[in-house]
Amino acid sequence: MGEKPKIAICWLGACGGCDEAIVDLNEGLLDVAEAVSIELWPVAMDFKYDHLTAFGKDEIAVGLVSGHVRNSEHAEVARLLRDRCRLIIALGACACFGGTPGLANLAAREEILDTVYRTAPSVVNPDGTIPQVETPWDGEALRLPAFLHHVYALNQVIDVDYFIPGCPPPPELIRNGVRAVLTDDLPPKGSTLAPRKALCETCPRNKTKPLRFEIHGPIRRIHEVEADPEMCFLADGILCMGPATRTGCGETCIRANTPCRGCFGPVPGVTDPGSRFISSLAALLKVGTTGDPRAVMASIGDPVGYLYRFTHPISTLGARRLGEALEETP
């Protein structure tokens, strides 16, 4: 019996929800631990940076990496993992598409620092101090990671082999992904380890979708109404990202009477789910030729935040690779 394959689980700019999803494998986690040797998991085990550097190149079979890249430490750890792991799987919406933190790309870095450290109402900072990469202190230099200009998805920083989307990804998809790696039953590199269909195709409310699909404004938001628990959200005038979003999530939000927020990212072949959704919404909205579309459009609060909630860093306008214009390479 050979040595068990080594596995690394690591987070970059992440909330820990993806790690929680791994924990949610429950007893299944014991099966995973039986089949592999978990060498690195900062959320659950003791971790020092040296633990990672001590591995040889390609020594780890697979690295499950969650979180986006926003500072130089994220970038450095991502590159180190790429070097030490034979396969890298981007785990969760942040690693796959930049995730919710990606909406920070709609503000310049200086604006963010200024708001957070100087002008926010709760801040008391009379000297206007802002974190520095290096600060002299007691004869020594204290160092912090550099805050980058942009939020990056993992594959905009390092080469990524597979993607498991979701916020968080369902434990079942993680289990299947790890199993596929262990049994060498993998699709072509770059694939997303989730179904290829749109959410609508597996949605339990699909049967209530009218034959002639039209949305008669105004658009309603889920917190403003008591939604019918069986009715297609869009047909009911409630925005739902289902048509532009990949399925595989188990429709958990839909079953909790909440419309899709798009955390599984675009369906295959679509790079910009927001613009795809805008185009289809424009076609579906019925305001009459004498009506004013502005009133309907105005009823959609924060369309950018809604349409690009998880995907701004991979969108047409927001996509950038680390090292491109503006960015100092850390």
């Binding site: 790309n105 310049a108 613009s275 795809r276 185009s279 459009m297 959609i300 950018v304 047409t316 306008l317």
Partner: protein, 132 residues
């Protein structure tokens, strides 16, 4: 001086310049792209144009009630209202996208309209690409 705004113009083939040789039109305006219907435009086309360097976009659509595909022109107008919010969030002023509903089979006014829009784009200056 010397700033020449890059204007991408999409024109509906049914209402605009169909009596004119498309190559001749393109010689006059390099970034003119005839489309089968203004409703054929996807939000993605407009975003890509900005991402790849456009300073502004002019859409020449058919008059109200004259769309060959019933209401492609109106659909594009609705799409633009939604898209404007997306553009503004990225620092792209709504003035940088204009849609005109009219008809000009011989394409006599296309060049003038492009020149006019370029003039107003010149007033806005080059697009700030800090967030792109």
């Amino acid at each position: 001086m010397g700033y020449e705004p890059k204007l991408v113009c999409f024109s509906c083939k049914f209402g605009w310049g169909y009596l004119k040789d498309p190559n001749a039109l393109r010689e006059e305006a390099a970034l003119l792209t005839p489309v089968e219907c203004s409703g054929r435009l996807d939000a993605l086309h407009l975003l890509k144009a900005f991402k790849e360097g456009a300073d502004g976009i002019l859409i020449l659509a058919c008059e109200e009630g004259h769309c060959h595909f019933q209401e492609g022109n109106f659909r594009t107008l609705k799409m633009l209202y939604l898209l404007r919010d997306v553009l503004q969030a990225h620092g792209i002023d709504g003035e940088r996208v204009r849609i005109e509903f009219s008809r000009d089979p011989e394409g006599r006014t296309i060049l003038d309209r492009i020149t006019q829009m370029k003039a107003s784009l010149s007033g806005l200056g080059p697009l700030d690409r800090a967030l792109l």
